[in-house]
């Protein structure tokens, strides 16, 4: 925005304007002021530990006030209003970063305590106080999510192929609309649906991994459909026409031309969908239940999953809460690591294997 002319005192173009780096300098100065204030508070013993969040929060507020006042004096009303909005917008962004930073910092710092080999080798069977691990929950999460993916990927892919390659008219429009609506189904309602479905023929006390998989796939299918649809749409029409011109049937065109072209994007979409459902807690809490023992069988008995493990460790603390909370935080750390790994891998695949058009 500001004109990039050197701010010399004789230059009429930049007269009545703040120099280019002024906002940034001011922001850093006001942060430093409040870091100083809070450091003093800590040194004097008023607060027990250094309040990083407070320092940056109040520093940013101070910056907002300073920049508007200074700009009002130097640059006048219109420009000051612009500065106000700029600083407010920046503040909104910084305020949002604070919980993210705080959350990641807490999960890592409290999660490393139990990030040991026992955590990945032991279950919670016969563990009352300290010790134990989450291997049963990790195995459960992987099994339930894998089966959910097994259900959702074919259905999701075929639906997106229908929408892009075949779908015309009312059915296609209805499917598009309801897929969008389905993205907004609360996860707990998906859990209730899967539960009521299985409770019809297995009795009201049914709890099994497969029920959780069905619940997760209700949440996963719309995500897979949306992302694959976007990817299939950008496959160039020339490829289809060239294939038809050579006399290739439509289904072979799809299988041999369109899917291989878009395979990187499809994989990315599917992995992002998996990473979205792998952290779901509510549907699993009511469909797979919870247990302290290892259970490899998806089709019978309760099965522990990692998100539910984190929840139950918090919700059913023993008389000494520390080992329970430590296990919960480590579970949270493992969960975030899995989700992040899936996310990164997905984006990496999308970048490395996408067809080079130019």
């Amino acid at each position: 925005m500001s004109v990039a002319v050197r701010n010399t005192s004789a230059n009429t173009l930049t007269a009545g304007k703040l120099p280019k780096g002024a906002p940034w300098g001011l922001l850093i100065v006001s942060w430093l002021i409040f870091i100083g204030v809070f450091a003093l508070l800590q040194a004097s013993g008023t607060t027990t530990d250094f309040n990083v969040v407070g320092a940056f929060f109040f520093g940013t507020i101070l910056f907002d006030i300073l920049i508007v006042v200074i700009s009002m004096v130097v640059e006048g009303g219109r420009k000051a209003k612009d500065r106000l909005v700029t600083s407010l917008v920046t503040t909104a962004f910084i305020i949002t970063l604070l919980p993210l930073i705080s959350l990641i910092y807490t999960v890592i710092s409290r999660g490393v305590a139990r990030f040991d080999s026992a955590y990945f080798n032991e279950s919670m069977r016969n563990v009352i106080g300290a010790g134990g691990g989450a291997v049963h929950a990790i195995v459960g999460t992987l099994e339930v999510t894998a089966f959910a993916a097994l259900i959702s990927i074919p259905i999701g892919l075929l639906t997106s192929i229908y929408l892009v390659e075949y779908g015309r008219g009312r059915l296609a429009r209805a499917i598009t609309f309801f897929v969008d609506v389905m993205t907004g189904i609360p996860s707990i309602v998906a859990g209730l649906f899967a539960y009521s479905l299985f409770a019809l023929f297995a009795g009201p006390s049914i709890r099994a991994g497969i029920v959780g998989s069905v619940a997760l796939s209700v949440l996963m299918i719309p995500v897979v459909v949306r992302s694959s649809e976007e990817i299939l749409k950008i496959v160039p029409n020339e490829l289809r026409e060239a294939s038809y011109a050579l006399g290739v049937p439509k289904w072979l065109t799809i299988v041999k031309i369109i899917l291989p072209t878009s395979i990187a994007g499809l994989t990315t979409g599917v992995m992002l969908a998996i990473s979205r459902v792998i952290g779901e807690t509510a549907p699993l809490l009511i469909t797979t239940g919870f247990t302290t023992s290892m259970n490899y069988d998806l089709f019978s008995d309760r099965m522990m999953t990692l998100p539910v493990f984190v929840y139950t460790q918090y919700a059913n603390q023993g008389p000494d809460a520390t080992p329970f909370l430590e296990r919960a935080w480590t579970g949270a750390l493992v969960l975030i690591l899995i989700v992040m790994a899936l996310n990164l891998l997905a984006r990496l695949i999308g970048r490395l294997f996408s067809p080079k058009l130019r």
Partner: protein, 319 residues
């Protein structure tokens, strides 16, 4: 050449398209899986209705909490759900508009995509982790502020005491919810802001408008309905969020608007999550029926949001 000369006489009857088995099977499979989605959605509604009938027709005394009938039971929960979601929306809306504007129009072009990823990172954090963070970090951190608020502004009904000693209030829950729905709201709004016609923006700047005036004149009017739908999608998310609320809130069976006390209205989803593992008989049916109510509420909100988006797509200047 000869072939083309002969062809008019040969194709007196138009050539018949060859119908291949592969084509038939494949297109049938795609149609079936597409329809399956509609079936699943319908089945969700049907199964929930079937399972909730016993609760809807239950006699007094069968429903938990000594409620006279199902509607008395679900009333406070509906209020709590809507109230918590609205509070979260009030916090998240200005923030998400700010972030979306920051990413689309303020941040340097080179890092704006990176900033978008960072906000998306928030969406990748599982809700149970948000819950843990909310109760063990945020609630403890924010409780002293609540005490100050109640002491100084306690005469305003919203901030009426007695203050919760643990910080597990509906305001804390709403803050956690707001953080959780920010990514989706920001994503929708960012897309809309980026679609604002470039020529209008440049014209405004060329006439000497400051950046804020340009946004006011060229971007916001264009993006209004997109912002509304982003807000409604956020509302849909907030209504259905379960575990974060179940962990953060200390619930009671009340209807009140006090933000900072330890007597908070519970939400439908959190109530299901906490009561379901021990529920039996009619209590179970009651929970499923409350889930049905939640399903209907979110369905209406989402359909309204999608309706606004779709209507806009057809008549926008962007295409």
């Amino acid at each position: 050449m000869t072939a083309s000369a002969e062809s008019p006489t040969k194709t007196a009857t138009p050539p018949k398209a060859v119908i291949r088995i592969g084509d038939r099977v494949f297109s049938l499979a795609t149609v079936l899986s597409g329809s399956l989605i509609l079936v699943v959605l319908a089945a969700t509604a049907v199964f929930l209705i079937v399972q909730s009938l016993p609760a809807l027709t239950a006699k007094p005394g069968q429903i938990p909490n000594d409620a006279a009938n199902f509607w008395v039971y679900v009333g406070p929960l509906v209020f709590g759900t809507v109230w918590a979601a609205l509070l979260a929306l009030i916090i998240a809306t200005p923030l998400s508009i700010g972030i979306a504007l920051f990413i689309s129009h303020y941040a340097p072009r080179r890092i704006s995509q990176l900033l978008g990823y960072i906000i998306d990172l928030l969406a990748a954090v599982p809700s149970v982790v948000f819950g843990l963070w909310g109760v063990l970090v945020l609630a403890k951190f924010i409780q002293p502020f609540y005490t100050t608020l109640v002491n100084t502004l306690g005469w305003i009904p919203l901030f009426q005491g007695p203050v919760s000693g643990t910080g597990k209030t509906i305001l804390t829950a709403a803050i956690v919810l707001a953080v959780m729905i920010l990514p989706i709201m920001t994503a929708v709004m960012r897309e809309i802001f980026l679609q604002a016609p470039r020529l209008h923006e440049e014209a405004a700047l060329a006439l000497g408008a400051t950046r804020w005036e340009m946004i006011q004149m060229a971007v916001l009017p264009f993006a209004r309905s997109g912002m509304v739908s982003g807000i409604m999608l956020g509302l849909g998310r907030a209504l259905g969020e379960t575990l974060a609320i179940a962990i953060v809130l200390s619930p009671a069976t009340v209807i009140n608007v006090f933000l900072l006390t330890s007597q908070n209205p519970n939400t439908i989803a959190a109530n299901i999550a906490t009561q379901f593992p021990e529920a039996q008989g009619v209590a179970l049916n009651t929970l499923i029926a409350s889930g049905l109510v939640l399903f209907v509420i979110t369905l209406l909100v989402n359909m309204a949001a999608r309706f606004i988006v779709n209507r806009r797509k057809a008549f926008s200047g962007a295409n």
